[in-house]
């Protein structure tokens, strides 16, 4: 790669298709939910039956505008839908209602944080369209004797966002996609699930001799269904193009398919066989006039976006950048964090250890049992923010030790009970009684003359073994700080 990097410059643009989280489909009233039995969420409109007509889903337009505003795009006062023609059995009308010459929004950007600093990646356009159905082959595509079509997905709203060719490496492309996904999730317009196909990515990639001002021949790569695949496919493709140029070949403008299992891209169709989509304005829909007041209402309702939150979390709460990054996996997780912090003394908590303690507990415990990007799981966590704070308060006021707290956390998660109930019922309150602890320490010391001998000879780590014995004898309930202090005093006495 380094040889490639010194000789050539990489130019990448991404096209991202996001399924919108509307209840109904783009042009009919059918549910847009994923996973139903095949062909149960269909009607004459999304089956493309004769004589039916599309009606635009207002909510999908709102989601498009919301996203456009988050990317600083210009929302056009008027946009229109167009028909894009190609024959494919998963597309019932054999044309897709999309947008072509007059998209919903244009000219925005997305800032991505890279090791070398921040870069703004241009967004050329954002438009709305309908998804197609799904083909199920009996056997593999090559050997199938029959194929079935599931039209549940047909007509689900899609938002296509095309970046400018501003991305300079596969890593940047992956970073862009991560940041993009995060914004969509924060806006609540897409669940960002790449495995289920709610977020799909195609890439246009070309390379050119370093310093050249003209663009090389671009190749489109399809089937990039995870961050890892985006990066791997692009790395492969950049290498392939460099090797081709090095050996005097020219790059063919074509569409290539990423074969994730085999780790290479293969040619799907060349420019000569490219589709002529025969776009023309959709006559069944009138141009969409976007009311300025509506746009301003949507703008006013935009949430704080992940990058802004991270910056604020670092500056205001003193969180490490890494923690802030982990917490912005989903809007639900950030909400969880913010709610917990507010419960735990709010502004008074700022400037203390609390923000970091809280993020530690979320990262090491909560995200051990729940997936951070699963909005619903976080929102319906058996340990809601208030209860987590209840647990942390018990540590803070020395009722229990941090070690015991981890056990209590698991019990809370399993039973749905609060921390105090569990601690009191199971007798987990920390032993902080100097008299009681003194007796335990004395008996531990009596049973371990060798350790005391070692300690006196200067082997200070022997004390740790004694602390461990005391903790064991109290089944972890002893206040570790108190044990240390008492033990040191007794060791000094004898």
């Amino acid at each position: 790669m380094s040889a490639v990097a010194t000789t050539y410059e990489t130019v990448i643009g991404l096209e991202v298709h996001a399924q919108l989280l509307t209840r109904s489909k783009m042009f009919c009233g059918c549910p847009a939910t994923f996973g139903a039995r095949p062909n149960t969420q269909t009607c004459p409109v999304c089956l493309g039956m004769p004589g039916v007509l599309p009606v635009v889903n207002r909510r999908a337009v709102e989601f498009g505008i919301r996203t456009a505003l988050a990317f600083g795009c210009r929302v056009n006062e008027s946009c229109r839908f167009a028909r894009k023609h190609y024959y494919y059995p998963d597309m019932p009308k054999n044309y897709q209602i999309s947008q072509y010459e007059e998209p919903l929004a244009e000219d925005g950007f997305l800032e991505i944080d890279l090791e070398g600093g921040t870069r703004a990646i241009g967004i050329q356009r954002l438009h709305l369209e309908e998804d197609v159905g799904k083909l199920l082959h009996e056997g593999t595509l090559e050997t199938a004797q029959a194929s079935l079509v599931d039209f549940n997905r047909s007509g689900v709203p899609l938002m296509e966002t095309v970046s400018r060719p501003d991305l300079q490496s596969p890593e940047e492309a992956a970073a862009y996609l991560r940041a993009f996904r995060s914004v969509l999730i924060f806006l609540g317009v897409c669940d960002g699930n790449m495995e289920e196909g709610s977020l799909r990515c195609d890439a246009n990639v070309s390379i050119r001799p370093r310093g050249s001002t003209t663009l090389g021949t671009k190749v489109e790569i399809k089937n990039l269904n995870s961050f890892r695949n985006v990066q791997r496919a692009l790395e492969f493709e950049v290498r392939r193009q460099a090797q081709a140029l090095d050996s005097g070949e020219r790059i063919v403008q074509e569409t290539r398919l990423w074969e994730a299992d085999r780790g290479y891209t293969r040619s799907m169709r060349s420019k000569e066989f490219a589709h002529d989509y025969r776009y023309f304005p959709e006559p069944d829909l009138v141009p969409l006039r976007i009311d300025r007041r509506w746009v301003e209402e949507i703008r006013a309702s935009l949430p704080e976006l992940p990058r802004a939150w991270r910056q604020r979390a670092v500056a205001q709460y003193g969180l490490p950048a890494y923690d802030a990054e982990v917490l912005t996996q989903s809007r639900a997780l950030v909400d969880y964090y913010e709610t917990a912090l507010r419960e735990w003394g709010g502004a008074a908590g700022a400037g203390t250890e609390r923000p970091k303690i809280l993020s530690n507990w979320i990262m090491s415990e909560l995200l051990r049992v729940l997936s951070g990007d699963d909005e619903r799981a976080i929102q319906s966590s058996p340990i809601p923010p208030r209860r987590l704070v209840g647990l942390l308060e018990l540590i803070e006021n020395s009722t229990i030790s941090g070690k015991i707290a981890k056990d209590v956390f698991q019990k809370m998660f399993d039973s749905g009970e609060d921390a105090r109930t569990i601690v009191e019922r199971d007798g987990l309150t920390q032993v902080a009684d100097e008299g009681a602890l003194g007796h335990v320490i004395e008996s531990v010391m009596a049973a371990n003359p060798k350790a005391i001998e070692d300690y006196r000879r200067g082997k200070k780590e022997a004390k740790g073994a004694l602390v461990g014995q005391v903790m064991k004898a109290t089944r972890g309930k002893a206040n570790p700080a108190l044990v240390n202090r008492l033990l040191e005093a007794k060791l000094a006495q004898t």
Binding site: G48, P50, L53, Y87, R278, P283
Partner: protein, 482 residues
């Protein structure tokens, strides 16, 4: 019983006539005579009798649903009917049974109309003679050797031949007005967007409009009023109140200015038509209308623009018929072979011709020269009408340049296309127009007078047609079928 709907319902109200008797009479006539005419593709006998019985109950209990309750009506087979096969005149949809009603059909059922059946048409509404039905041609009740016009020829012939009291068709370039003129009935194309297109199998989406055929102008007003109005399922339908068209009819033409376009009297048109139309204008003048010459020079480019826009949209609308989901499927080696065989077998020659024309016109590199240019012409046509309507209230003209021709007479597609030269500008501009009978040729074949109006001004268009109709007696003449 062969009388206008408003007279039938008057008789229902008085108790002189029963909807079941009328339905049975029409079904009997269809059984006896439609073998000659070929107006129907599907007769909905049981459905019609059920609907007539229900209507009779309502009339008997004094709660009819309105002026169409119990009216025996036919609809062009381009309109989807739930549970009743809808072929669009094509083999492609020979066994297609839609699970939904077109909005027009839904509104007719709600109005208590008795649907007699689905009428014949040129395949996918492409044609001007109803010879291009994949099933059988329809014959003109005035002369069975002649065509009824098209593409809604079945609907026009049904009304002319007394095989339906009224009917509906669709008009993309004249497909209601031209057959109405050929068959001597009233036919109206409303403003684009006045009647919902939901459930109308699309030919050219930006031009298609549903409208009625009737025995007289009063029925036309009733039939239009029953189906007009906004439909949330059609984004291009206009959200404007529907006036009571019948209430407007008696207002007359006194004081109205009627425009007479120079470009609608062309060389080569049938002299009988020119004579009849000029006489009709004299009649209107006599009723107090002012006549003024107007010029619509873009008319001569309309046909060319139309034959780019229509095939372009049709090629797109017809892409869905691929054998995958519904309709005809011809097995093949693989998917592409199946689709190709299905489309080869399912579509007739005229449909294929237009799909090819349209596909070409939309191709990369040709779009601007064809589709783009045609849309510019369309804008000019619209502006020209707007300018004319700034000076005049209505435009009067012949509906067609010729009378009903003989079957097989127009083999050449171009001479067939020329039939629509006076009706196409109304579709390109979206304005309403009606064809009302205005006489007969020397051979005894009907001639139509076309009245065009401003967008959404159907009331005034009908008013003029009504004034003319009431001043003349053409409608008393009927073809002899039996």
């Amino acid at each position: 019983m062969h009388r206008p709907i408003h007279e039938l319902t008057d008789a229902y109200r008085r108790g002189d006539l029963k909807p079941t008797a009328v339905a049975e009479d029409y079904l009997a006539r269809i059984g006896a005579l439609d073998g000659k005419v070929g107006a129907y593709l599907t007769v909905m006998r049981e459905h019609a009798l059920d609907a007539a019985r229900e209507s009779e109950q309502r009339w008997r209990s004094g709660s009819p649903r309105g002026p169409l309750d119990g009216a025996p009506i036919a609809v062009k087979d381009v309109l989807c009917t739930a549970g009743v096969r809808t072929t669009c005149g094509s083999k492609m949809l020979e066994r297609f049974v839609p699970p939904y009603d077109a909005t027009t059909v839904e509104r007719l059922r709600a109005a208590g109309a008795v649907l007699l059946g689905k009428t014949n048409m040129d395949e996918f509404a492409m044609g001007s003679s109803t010879e291009h039905s994949a099933y059988h041609p329809t014959h003109n009740p005035w002369d069975l050797t002649r065509v009824p016009g098209g593409s809604s020829g079945g609907s026009a012939a049904a009304v002319a031949g007394g095989l339906a009291a009224g009917s509906y068709g669709s008009d993309t370039g004249g497909s209601i007005r031209q057959p109405a003129a050929f068959c001597g009935v009233v036919g109206m194309k409303p403003t684009y967007g006045r009647v919902s297109r939901y459930g109308l199998i699309a030919l050219a989406s930006s031009l298609d409009q549903i409208g009625p055929f009737a025995q007289d102008v009063t029925d036309t007003a009733l039939l239009l009023g029953a189906v007009a109005g906004h439909d949330p399922r059609d984004s291009t339908s206009i959200d404007a109140p529907v006036p009571d068209y019948t209430a407007e009819l008696p207002k007359g033409v006194a004081g109205l200015t009627l425009g007479l376009p120079d470009e609608y009297f062309i060389d080569g048109m049938d002299p009988d038509i020119e004579r009849a139309v000029r006489q009709a204008i004299e009649v209107l003048k006599g009723l107090g209308a002012k006549i003024e010459r107007v010029s619509l020079p873009t008319t001569r480019h309309s046909l060319a623009a139309y034959y780019v826009i229509l095939p372009a949209e049709a090629s797109s609308n017809l892409a869905r018929y691929d054998g995958v989901k519904y309709g005809l499927r011809v097995a093949g080696r693989d998917l592409v072979d199946m689709e190709s065989r299905t489309r080869s077998a399912g579509f007739g020659a005229e449909v294929k011709r237009r799909i090819m024309l349209g596909t070409y016109a939309l191709s990369a590199g040709y779009y601007d020269a064809y589709y783009g240019k045609a849309q510019s012409v369309r804008t000019l046509v619209r502006r020209e009408f707007a300018a004319a309507f700034a000076k005049v209230d209505l435009i009067v003209a012949p509906t067609t340049p010729n009378i009903a021709f003989k079957h097989g007479e127009k083999e050449d597609p171009l001479s067939m296309y020329l039939n629509d030269v006076f009706t196409i500008p109304g579709n390109l501009s979206g304005i309403p127009g009606v064809s009302v009978p205005c006489g007969f040729s020397t051979a005894g074949l009907p001639i139509g007078l076309q009245v065009l109006g401003r967008p959404l001004d159907e009331a005034r268009v009908l008013r003029a047609a009504y004034a003319y109709e009431q001043a003349t007696s053409w409608r008393s003449r009927r073809p002899e079928l039996a």
